[in-house]
């Protein structure tokens, strides 16, 4: 097949795009030297032929091949959303939807090809695994390159594998039964796209009553220029079980558009508990159109911890469907929009069961002309008697050229529920900066401390090393521009 050296999509074509500042993002922005011959790619764009090629390449079962082709049809029928940040800069005919290193997935770090290994070493992934994780999956472009789980976790019957293996493995039926049932391809245009071209991601199954006491982690790195990443994460936490799953993402900066349209589906059983933490740090040419959804059974709890720092534009609203009576969901998120970024983030809570409860606590920060929009929706269903929901959103604008908007929606179909909402928009007080400076702290450091403090509801919930990474990202953003 023909190899195109570059994908000439220019984000400058997007009239609303502003080229990102040269903040020092070296840690994430390094471009791994790669040789073309080491990689397999499909052509740019979306045609049934390309979808069939991906399916063949991935050795899909028949049903999945059909699922992909059907999703492509749905994709062609649905319009691009018209209510969020403009995505004119994204030309799907120019996105390479599948890029794979010509080496198989390894479960021994030493066998991972050097170029990829170096990229993950720089991000500290293997070190984190050694120190604090029960299992790690690392995805590079479209496929997982490394996957490993600690033995005691395997012994408990926990399954943590790449999606491809899961499709044909022991739990193939379970995967088929759940795959894109919570987020069907008809949900929106990019869910359909995901159904057609998804690749990589993780499958986790935690058996009944099993409590995994240290987190599992997946790290997604999109290195190929002008490419898309469409990983699928499917997590099933059975009744009475407990899991903390961490997702990290990054990509180098190119002057062409990259696309991330992943999908996360979480199934939380009766009285089960799942915490899903994300630190998203895509480069600032990325269109992040991601869909995350959880279904919670009776007495179960889902907790979302979310830090959104990167991307050019984001649409991200993790949704919790509180189906079972007494189920509970929490969303704690921070979004930081710097120069050239338009981040539309929030959460959605759907109360179906009785005495369900949800809690949203978000902080958005904008700086150097960045736009941060908080968008949320709380729906109290007809039968959700005794439901309680609380929404708390705060914004911090670091200058007068940035923009912060709040779009909370509440829909109540029963009056036997209790819903509260509080929104605050503020600026850093000069007096507070002077106060910190009077103790010998530089102005830049004082501002960074105030912003980190503002974002602390999220960092406090993260494992130590991730909280440190988050504060480091805030510091980088504060220094830039």
């Amino acid at each position: 097949m023909e190899m195109r050296k570059d994908t000439p999509i220019d984000i400058e074509k997007d009239k609303n795009a502003v080229l990102p500042d040269d903040v020092n993002r070296e840690l994430y922005d390094f471009k791994d030297e790669e040789r073309e011959e080491d990689f397999y790619k499909v052509d740019e764009g979306l045609t049934p032929e390309i979808i069939e090629e991906i399916s063949r390449e991935k050795k899909d079962p028949q049903w999945m091949r059909e699922f992909r082709l059907k999703s492509l049809e749905i994709y062609k029928e649905i319009e691009v959303p018209d209510w969020g940040p403009p995505i004119d800069g994204l030309d799907m005919d120019r996105i390479v939807t599948y890029v794979r290193h010509k080496s198989d997935m390894k479960n021994d770090w030493n066998e991972v090809p050097d170029d990829i290994k170096n990229a993950f070493e720089k991000l500290g992934i293997p070190q984190a695994e050694r120190e604090a994780l029960a299992g790690v999956g690392a995805q590079y472009d479209s496929e997982l390159v490394y996957h490993n789980v600690k033995e005691n976790v395997i012994a408990d019957g926990v399954i943590y594998t790449d999606m491809e293996s899961a499709l044909t493995g022991e739990y193939a039926d379970m995967v088929r039964e759940h795959f894109m049932k919570l987020v069907p391809p008809t949900d929106h245009k990019f869910a359909a796209l995901h159904g057609a071209v998804w690749s990589g991601g993780s499958f986790v199954y935690v058996p009944k009553g099993v409590k995994v006491d240290i987190p599992l982690q997946s790290y997604f790195r999109l290195n190929a220029k002008g490419a898309g990443q469409f990983e699928h994460t499917l997590i099933i936490v059975d009744d009475e079980a407990d899991l903390h799953f961490i997702e990290g993402c990054s990509a180098p900066k190119y002057n062409v558009a990259n696309l991330h349209a992943g999908c996360v589906e979480l199934f939380v059983g009766k009285n089960a508990h799942l915490r899903y933490s994300t630190i998203e740090n895509w480069s600032k040419n990325m269109y992040n159109l991601n869909t995350k959804r959880a279904l919670v059974e009776e007495g179960g709890t889902v907790e979302w911890i979310s830090g959104s720092f990167g991307s050019h534009e984001s649409y991200l609203y993790p949704t919790s469907v509180l189906k079972g009576d007494g189920s509970h969901a929490e969303f704690t998120g921070v979004t930081f929009a710097g120069k050239g970024q338009n981040l539309d983030t929030g959460a959605k809570m759907i109360h179906l069961g009785r005495r369900t409860s949800s809690f949203i606590d978000t902080k958005s920060i904008c700086k150097s002309g960045g736009i941060s929009t908080y968008r949320s929706s709380v729906v109290i269903g007809r039968n959700a008697e005794g439901a309680k929901a609380s929404v708390n959103c705060g914004s911090l604008m670091l200058d007068s050229i940035s923009r912060s908007d709040t779009v909370p929606a509440i829909e109540m179909r029963t009056d036997k529920a209790d819903v509260g909402h509080e929104a605050k928009i503020g600026r850093i007080s000069d007096e507070a900066v002077f106060y910190l400076m009077s103790r010998g702290i530089t102005e830049a450091e004082a501002r960074a401390m105030i912003v980190s403090g503002f974002a602390s509801p999220v960092s406090k919930e993260l494992p130590l090393e991730y909280a440190a990474e988050m504060n480091n990202l805030i510091k980088l953003e504060m220094e830039g521009g």
Binding site: D430, F434, L436, S438, R439, G440, I441, A446, G453, S456
Partner: protein, 246 residues
Amino acid sequence: MSDILLSINNLSASVDGEMILNDINLNIKKGETHVLMGPNGAGKSTLGNVLMGNPVYKVESGSISFEGEELIGESADKRANRGLFMSFQNPLEVPGLSLESFIRNAIRQNTGKAIRVLKFNKELSETMELLGMDPAYAERDLNVGFSGGEKKKAEILQLLMLNPKLAILDETDSGLDVDAVKNVSKGIEEYQKREDGALLIITHSTKILESLNVDYTHVIVKGRIVKTGDASLVGEINENGFEAYL
């Protein structure tokens, strides 16, 4: 070498175009305790803020030298690095930043050295005990939800931990109950005991001064220092108020 720590010469300053300080002259030597008294609106707090480098106030003329070097034009953090400190009348609240982490960061930036954690923790808990502070406050967000008394104790805690060369205490005793005044005074006495530590205590009452050694007292009215005396001036004002100087 002269042992003059701070030398204020012909200092005039304004805020929003209005002159607040007029032609202030004041010298403070190492180890001395000066008290600045005056009625409300006399310019006491303004002087503290100007010395510390609050950008809200504009210096119109004059000079402020600290250990022989000019401070005017220098930012507050640089002044603090030199050994200047001000306890705030209304300490600001910073959500998400713990008192302990704030002090640790401040020490690190002032000394440019890494902190020895065990030594720091020991010193912090001993100092909190001296001030009658609940140790739980170390982990609480800086001043958030602190009572007036706890805020002032936290200021004195910072004073003792940072150990500056000159501390300006701006109305540290205002709004405190008897016990809190006692604890705060104990902290200030502790600072006085240390060699060379100088104080400029800004106050309009005299409660806090009862247990402290005072070397000089200055009375400021309408932005001018109208009288300078020794410790006995405190007692005189306590009895007669500022009437005589208005």
